[in-house]
Amino acid sequence: MDFIAWIQQTELHQWLGESPYWFPYPFIIALHAMGMGVIVGMNVALDLRILGVASAIPLAPLESFFPFMYLGLAVNAVTGLGLMITHPELLLNPVMWVKFACIFLALGSLRLLRARVFRDPKLDPQHIPLGRQVLAGFSIFFWAGAITAGRLTAYIGS
């Protein structure tokens, strides 16, 4: 694909790939893992609450964690772009697109759950409707899928 060849001849690609020390490439990789921990970990914690874990936690105040999740997401969007510029050939790997699809679905679920659970004042925090609980279950599944697909790109598809 020409687009990949084009990325590979940019200075940015060379610079990222030739990291002689912990900067820039290992630094980007480490930030990507930290951002993942924040967005995935906090989102799964919210999913668990919806599923009935620690049900004494009131729902509305949990919204205060959304800025941190979105910070983690922003860190990973930027570092992810950096990783793509370093390894543009990953765009040809179908497993990479499974990861993208999982992230897209997980973020869609998060948006829906924010509106229908954390911002719904009529919701009884002890009896969350089954549909929303199923969505929380899928959210955990999508994040597990994103992580697994991300790791597997190192082994299969390219």
């Binding site: 921990g37 906090m42 941190f68 991300g150 597997l152």
Partner: protein, 161 residues
């Protein structure tokens, strides 16, 4: 000393067993990332509450999520031990300093947790909506965030030296 531990590890044959299934090591890695997320996400939320964020949350109910953070730690301890059996030379001989720092940070996070339990824990557990945590709890929360993110940092550096 390290060399003999590496030899013993290789002689157990556990690493060979893991490697005889091509899927086992990659799935272990994926689980290690899931465990990391659970640990950092749950413990991070508790730390942030102590630091003064999400103050409308009463502390004790939020703390009810902690067993899931501990589950993340157990997943990572198990998969981490598996990695050691597959690749002892990498950790002990190729990047001994980085492995040491990673283990040191995990140890310090444990000490930090012990200090938390022995000092402000009861006080913090009684925090209601809007209550501010004592200064020592804020210091412990910030230390915890720093140490666990540091553990991720060292873990990722293992692959780059």
């Amino acid at each position: 000393m390290l060399l003999s531990v590496v030899r013993w590890t290789l002689n157990t044959g556990i690493g060979d067993f893991v490697e005889s299934y091509t899927w086992m090591f990659p799935i272990g890695e994926a689980l290690h990332f899931m465990g990391l997320s659970l640990l950092v996400g749950v413990i991070g939320m508790v730390d942030l509450r102590m630091l003064g964020f999400a103050k409308k949350l009463p502390f004790a109910p939020l703390h009810g999520l902690v067993p899931w953070g501990i589950a993340g730690f157990v997943i990572n301890l198990s998969t981490g031990i598996m990695f050691w059996f597959v690749n002892p030379e990498l950790y002990a001989l190729e990047v001994p300093e980085i492995s040491f720092y990673k283990l040191l940070f995990i140890f310090l996070a444990g000490v930090n947790l012990l200090v938390f339990r022995l000092t402000v824990f009861d006080q913090v557990m009684s925090l209601g909506p809007g209550d501010d945590a004592p200064l020592l709890a804020k210091f412990i929360g910030a230390t915890s965030l720093f140490l666990w993110l540091g553990v991720i940092w060292w873990g990722r550096m293992i692959m780059f030296t």
